[in-house]
């Protein structure tokens, strides 16, 4: 449980300390990639709680989603269509769904454990 949190904190620290900044024209891609990554992470947590977690699906989903989202945004820029909105919408909705499911699973676990006690 604590290892992922540690990883997140470490990543944040590394990111802040390294002082890497993205040129403003690419910051859109990064923001979408972050969204995709978050979506995958919450999807993974949900699958873990539901017992249907698969390593390969998780890892490939993580990188594939990021690439797809960034690629969609890139295509959108060149076609003059705001395709990144599609990615934001899709990931946003899924993020909310996943978090809702995680919450329900946690609540039911908690009530179960209380009943047992």
């Amino acid at each position: 449980m604590w290892l992922p949190v540690l990883g997140l904190v470490l990543g944040l620290l590394l990111g802040f300390m390294s002082d890497i900044r993205v040129p403003p024209e690419y910051s859109n891609y990064l923001s979408i990639a972050v969204l995709a990554a978050l979506d995958t992470l919450f999807g993974g947590i949900r699958a873990h709680l539901q017992g249907s977690f698969e390593d390969k699906v998780f890892i490939t989903g993580f990188f594939f989603n990021i690439l797809l989202a960034a690629g969609l945004a890139y295509l959108g820029v060149h076609l003059g269509i705001d395709l990144y909105l599609a990615a934001i919408f899709a990931f946003g909705v899924r993020l909310f769904n996943n978090i809702a499911v995680i919450r329900r699973l946690l609540i039911s676990k908690w009530t179960d454990s209380r009943k047992k006690a």
Binding site: L6, G7, L8, V9, G15, P23, P24, S27, L30, I59
Partner: protein
């Protein structure tokens, strides 16, 4: 199970890094330097001048420090009193005199603006702009209608009257005394300045004349210091 944890941790690490980079990017974006050669030269010149000023200041303070350290107690007090007097003079708490210019502001005569028109009104912004321009042309000290302009002087309009240092200014003509090292030059410059043109546009006659001796009164209100703390002495 352990592997899964490590995997999650790795992904979380990547996400953390991305979040931090995104955060950095949005909060302090990379600003491109678009100055051309001349602008760079001008900036360099400015920085050099600043360096020189700072060096001079450093020199002055180190001399003062030397004086404090080497002299006896009485002399220390003397030096401190001198420093205090200097600071008071800088803050505008003493009466000062010297060469400068005397400006008067009054409305144009009726014949020029027409009899029916109401008396023109001074806007505090016009006075502020005039003060700014006087300062820009190397004025040392300024007083308007007997009110010394210090760094905290408010110039406001309250119910149609102009208040400087929270005191209403009297009727026209308003006298503005300015101290300057080179009073002729200041006189020439201020007469042709946009601030004075602004006064003329608003139907005021502004006159300026260099004077060998101008007396400026002291700032007579308390100087309230809100956002300063005594510096801790290093031992």
């Amino acid at each position: 199970m352990k592997e899964r944890q490590i995997m999650f941790a790795t992904i979380a690490l990547i996400i953390g890094g991305m979040l931090a980079i995104q955060f950095e990017t949005t909060n302090n974006p990379i600003i491109r330097d678009t100055r051309d050669l001349w602008e760079l030269r001008a900036d360099l010149e400015k920085e050099k001048q600043r360096q020189q000023e700072l060096n001079e200041e450093l020199h002055r303070y180190s001399e003062l420090l030397n004086k404090y350290q080497t002299e006896g107690k009485d002399e220390k007090i003397e030096a401190m009193e001198k420093a205090l007097a200097d600071l008071k003079k800088q803050a505008g708490l003493t009466t000062v005199s010297g060469q400068g210019i005397v400006m008067t502001v009054e409305p144009f005569k009726d014949e020029l603006i027409g009899v029916d028109r109401p008396l023109p009104k001074i806007d505090p912004d016009m006075l502020r702009r005039l003060v700014n321009e006087l300062n820009r042309y190397d004025a040392k000290e300024i007083s308007i209608d007997g009110q010394r302009i210090v760094s905290k002087t408010p110039i406001r309009e309250v119910n149609g009257d102009i208040y400087i240092n929270n005191k209403p200014i009297s009727d026209f003509p308003i006298q503005i005394n300015v101290l300057a090292k080179n009073n002729e030059k200041l006189h020439q410059k201020i007469i042709a300045s946009p601030a004075v043109e602004e006064f003329i546009r608003e139907d005021f006659l502004v006159e300026s004349s260099p004077a060998a001796k101008v007396i400026l009164p002291a700032y007579d209100e308390d100087v309230k210091v809100k956002f300063m703390k005594p510096a801790k002495e290093e031992t």
